[in-house]
């Protein structure tokens, strides 16, 4: 049965884009729910402006009860949302729950997918809109779209790219979601799947001076969410001392005379250099 209404749950710019897409098609939006917020809520502002009901709910039990109470056929759009839908909610026959994930599933299921895409030096990542399944990020795929990973991109910038692509793709698939004419495909089990917990950090958050510059630079970019404290500052153990990494910069090497990577530490700065590039890492 086609949905009679839409509920959007998420935080940041993506649920706003989804709401705008729905309103542009005169889709009845029963409400928007923010399940997490750092005090910046464009979704709350947009709901106020467009007269859509908004609620900020951090309590998982209340959210579950709310979704369990719904009887009208509802498309639930989970758009950058940290609430994990329990099995009992997903078994409510009135609900069709779809979710955005910021990778090409089954690659990098779980949290901080852009981090893992960069750290593992994937050349391609992307976005997935999929049906929500009790197993996290394991539901059937509605649509995927690839994004080429730039060799200098940080986790923050890649996250933003995935959000922009996800918004555009949602607008494209919305008519088929509303008419229930879309088709799903099971997640490919090609051996490349992986799952990352929120507490998991690449290499335990420790920089390895023995890495190639390419891997070292990927590690630093993978943990770089600007001033968002998604992870603690990367650590460095060098010559018997422990350091926190506070910044980094890569530049072309002045001379191509080196055969292997050279490592030097001076004035709180670790310098890695090979034939092509020099990576300067500030420590404290």
């Amino acid at each position: 049965m086609n949905p009679e209404q839409v509920i959007i749950i998420g935080t940041g710019r993506l649920p706003c884009s989804c709401l705008e897409a729905c309103l542009a098609r005169s889709v009845p939006v029963a409400g928007c729910i923010e399940s997490g917020s750092q005090g910046f809520s464009p979704l709350a502002a947009l709901c106020r402006k467009r007269g859509v009901e908004y609620q900020l709910t951090l309590d998982r039990k209340s959210l579950s009860q709310y979704f369990l109470s719904i009887r009208r056929h509802t498309l639930v759009v989970s758009a950058y949302n940290y609430f994990i839908f329990p099995r009992e909610v997903l078994e409510n026959p009135a609900l069709n729950v779809i979710n955005f994930h910021n990778s090409l599933l089954p690659r990098h299921r779980g949290r901080n997918a852009p981090t893992w895409s960069i750290y593992e030096m994937d050349e391609i990542t992307g976005i997935t809109w999929h049906q929500v399944h009790p197993t996290v990020d394991a539901g059937d795929v509605i649509v995927q779209k690839s994004i080429a990973i730039d060799g200098n991109v940080t986790a923050l910038n890649l996250t933003l790219q995935t959000l922009d692509v996800a918004a555009a793709v949602f607008t494209e698939i919305l008519p088929s979601l509303l008419s229930q004419t879309y088709t799903c495909t099971p997640v490919r089990n090609d051996g490349n799947g992986s799952y990352h917990r929120s507490t998991e950090v690449p290499n335990g958050g420790v920089f390895d001076p023995a890495w190639t510059i390419k891997q070292a630079y990927a590690f630093l970019r993978a943990l770089d969410y600007g001033k968002f404290k998604v992870f603690a500052a990367p650590k460095l153990h060098f010559s018997g001392a422990d350091w926190s990494i506070t910044g980094y910069q890569i530049r072309p090497a002045n001379s191509g005379s080196l055969e292997g990577a050279a490592v030097a530490f001076q004035d709180r700065q670790l310098r890695l250099r090979d034939r092509e590039a020099e990576l300067l890492i500030s420590c404290d």
């Binding site: 940041g12 005090g39 502002a45 600007g226």
Partner: protein, 85 residues
């Protein structure tokens, strides 16, 4: 709202905001956060750009809505962080 900011600083901050959200008109807003013009990702991107532009390091603890609600708030934050405007 912009009495204390030089035109150059004003234009620089507007230019940075425009880079981050080109589709929005910040000059017409009195409350960038309350009106939903910036989300947390935008603010972190703005902070990085301000750090670079003004040679400061705005502490992560200062990334709160009140410090980014308008140009005056951003100016106060920059001065507090040591920027010469």
């Amino acid at each position: 709202m912009t009495d204390y900011l030089s035109n150059t600083a004003l234009n620089d901050i507007f230019a940075i905001l425009k880079t981050i959200r080109p589709e929005l008109d910040f000059s017409q807003s009195k409350d960038f956060i309350g009106e939903g013009l910036l989300d947390s990702f935008d603010v972190v991107t703005l902070v990085s750009a301000l750090d670079k532009k003004y040679g400061v390091s705005i502490p992560g603890t200062e990334i709160v809505p009140d410090n980014f609600k308008n140009l005056e708030a951003i100016e106060t934050l920059l001065r507090k962080s040591g920027a010469k405007l």
